[in-house]
């Protein structure tokens, strides 16, 4: 049995986290660190959020995703549209983008609900079973496809109608936000924007995840890589649909609202959610999918749903991180979300240790330190060598620590919780048999 320390692990973890938080805050206000390093620290924090999402998808659920940067981009642009609208109304109404995005998401949810209520899956099966006897397989397949397409059409129609109706009401209802006192309204909008960025990413992840997660490991990786390239290309052409996104020229005019407090708070919330998720029965089911999909299915887990949900959760974290990124620098360019950059979270997760949250957080910090530290460490005239030295370090680390920095070990409160303490009744005989009485 694992030993229980007198000092509760949550307390030590909390103290250290608070210590880091206050240290950075003090260092920034006392100007011990430059704005540049302050930004680097924030960047490391939000990268940790995104990487934790990937760790949930790849480390805990075992789904090899190369498209994480795509969800990061969705969150970044989605939340930037909302807050930019609030500061400099590009849609003509300060809460126009906000109401559209919320209404759109509700519409998607309604469409999904309608499809669930129509029982598309069961209908397809029954139709196929009914037709099987008399019709040829390709005829059955076509009939089933057409019927499900019609049903999907109904669902989408209902969703669009709901979104359309809801947007008007929301725009009127949310207009009050613009009349709130500046600081309060701003923080509220930022909070909602971050959430919306996350949920947008999660919805997209769920929708593409359901069909794509049937693919086996490497095929799924390539499909998600393709997805991130598609997002990248779409962002480059985004100005044709929404002019304010400015396409390949880069989106400007996003308010600089991200602070260390926001990043830290988001990181804490994400860590708490993820830790509790993973150690719940639900989380164990997620991990069981990684260990052995067939065995997990045999135990009665809905593997497809579990994978899609883990994927959506991971994407949600990436979306929130993207939102924080957008408001850190106030400028978004599609090349930030290029698929080559998409390897960064993967490198962090593998480097920190797959399936270790502590490792991911530590990995993000070290990653930022290596990338930015090389800028300082390399002598004059050798700036070009930064990305020559970095892959060498990466290679050495991978060769020396093949399972990552921490493997799957966790630290402090992040460790799996022990079962609640129980008083173990001591049998009578054991009490009487004291050592001194034996002799």
């Amino acid at each position: 049995m694992a030993r229980r320390s007198r000092f509760p692990s949550w307390l030590s973890t909390l103290l250290i986290a608070l210590g880091i938080y206050i240290l950075v805050l003090v260092a920034q206000s006392m100007e011990w660190i430059s704005t540049y390093w302050y930004n680097v620290i924030q960047l490391a924090g939000l990268t940790a959020i995104s990487a934790l999402g990937l760790n949930l998808i790849y480390g805990f659920n075992g789904q090899f995703s190369l498209g994480h940067i795509g969800f990061y981009a969705i969150g970044a642009y989605g939340s930037a549209l909302i807050t930019k609208d609030f500061v400099t109304p590009w849609s003509g109404n300060r809460v126009g983008a906000l109401s559209w995005i919320i209404a759109g998401q509700v519409g998607v949810l309604v469409a999904m609900l309608v499809l669930r209520l129509l029982r598309v899956g069961a209908l397809r099966k029954r139709l196929a079973a009914a037709l099987q006897a008399e019709f040829k397989p390709y005829e059955v397949r076509l009939a089933v496809t057409v019927v499900s397409l019609v049903l999907v059409g109904i669902g989408v129609g209902v969703g669009v109608a709901v979104a359309w109706g809801l947007q008007k009401g929301l725009a009127a209802g949310l207009a009050g936000l613009a009349r709130w006192p500046d600081a309060l309204g701003q923080n509220m909008v930022f909070f909602i924007a971050l959430l919306c960025g996350g949920t947008m990413a999660a919805l997209v992840a769920y929708l593409i995840g359901l069909p794509l997660l049937r693919l086996s490991s490497d095929y799924f990786g390539i499909a998600t890589l393709g997805f991130s390239v598609m997002i990248y290309t779409a962002l480059q052409n985004s100005d044709q649909v929404i002019p304010t996104m400015k396409g390949a020229r880069g989106m400007v005019g996003i308010p600089l609202w991200t602070t260390w407090t926001w990043v830290f708070a988001a990181l804490v919330v994400v860590v708490v959610i993820m830790r509790n998720l993973i150690h719940s029965s639900y989380g164990r089911a997620i991990v069981s999918v990684r260990e052995d999909e067939i065995a997990s299915k045999t135990m009665g887990n809905d593997v497809a749903q579990l994978k899609a949900m883990a994927f959506a959760f991971g994407a949600f974290f990436a979306g929130v991180a993207g939102g924080l990124y957008a408001h850190l620098f106030g400028f978004l360019h599609p090349s930030t979300f290029n698929f080559v950059k998409g390897f960064d979270p993967l490198i962090i997760v593998v480097f920190g240790g797959l399936g270790s949250m502590t490792g991911t957080i530590l990995g993000s910090a070290i990653f930022a330190l290596i990338i930015e530290g090389l800028r300082v460490l390399l002598p004059q005239g050798f700036e070009d060598w930064r990305f020559v030295v970095y892959p060498i370090i990466l290679l050495l680390i991978m060769l020396l620590r093949q399972k990552g920095l921490l493997g799957t070990t966790e630290w402090g409160w992040l460790r799996a919780p022990l079962p609640p303490a129980r008083e173990i009744p001591v049998p009578e005989r054991a009490v009487s048999a004291k050592p001194e009485e034996v002799g």
């Binding site: 008399e134 009939a143 490497d218 095929y219 290309t233 480059q236 052409n237 698929f339």
Partner: protein, 333 residues
Amino acid sequence: MKNPLIKWPLRVIIWAIYGLLAAGIVWGVISLVRFKGPVYFVQSVIDGLRLGFVYALVALGYTMVYGIVRLINFAHGDVFMVGAFTSFYAISQYGWGFVPAIALAMAVCMLLNVVIERVAYKPLRDAPRIAALITAVGVSFFLEYFTALKWVFGPDFVSYKRPFEVVIWEIGGVRIPNITAIIMGVTIFLLLALQYIVRRTKIGKAMRATALDKPTARLMGINVDGVITLTFAIGAALGGAGGVLYAIAYPQIWTFMGIMPGLKAFTAAVLGGIGEITGAFIGSLLMGSIEVLVVSFLPTGSRLRDLIAFLVLIIVFLVKPTGIMGKVEVEKV
């Protein structure tokens, strides 16, 4: 559904839908051809195939390596770039001809990839697969940024001097430069050579055995490490040749030129069913044609080419999860 009153109308409806689909496809193709005239259409297809043939050479390197060690060798696109630069120096600095230049590029790439394999991948053969993938990404970064240093290849675009004069033949209005003929010829020659090695020689048999089952192959007395190294070497040679041909077709080279073609070629290999040589070839031709057709026929095609190319990949995956030629592996307990 024994009732003929239900069965036959239903059947008619189903066939009507099939008929509509077929008519739609035919109508689509006809309107594509008529949109800017048949000559333009044939021209686009041929240009697309040219790109596809280049992709095929690169895709083979990916698919062979994947087939044998299950590694997505992200550094392959950069080996492709080194091939292009090697031939560039051979041609413009030393005035070499086309054939020696391409042979040199292939040899240099072979050597480079063997070194990469020995240094970066071999120590990780028993590690989790992701570790090797990360080192592959690292090697890719290293090759890109190291060669971008001023005293190596330099960070700028370099215009590539073709080793031969461009001659354009016109057949019924379709303009076919000799570049296209050379690319197709070289690719087909190398493909046939590869097929000969893999199917007819002893070493090819060893490669197939290793791809199938490594421990058993080792028990049969096959030098598995040697075979893996050889696979990397052959893949790199094909990739290097692909780099030279790509540079001849699109004569602007720089050290980051390998990223996108590498990704496309790998996608093409996956599209065709990874691990399959024929599949990689078919997937590459498809990928190249789609790309060029999108650029020629959509008003903003040149900006949307990647989006449509990957959309096709995802649609193929949804219909057939292992790619066009891929074998379906049934998982057993």
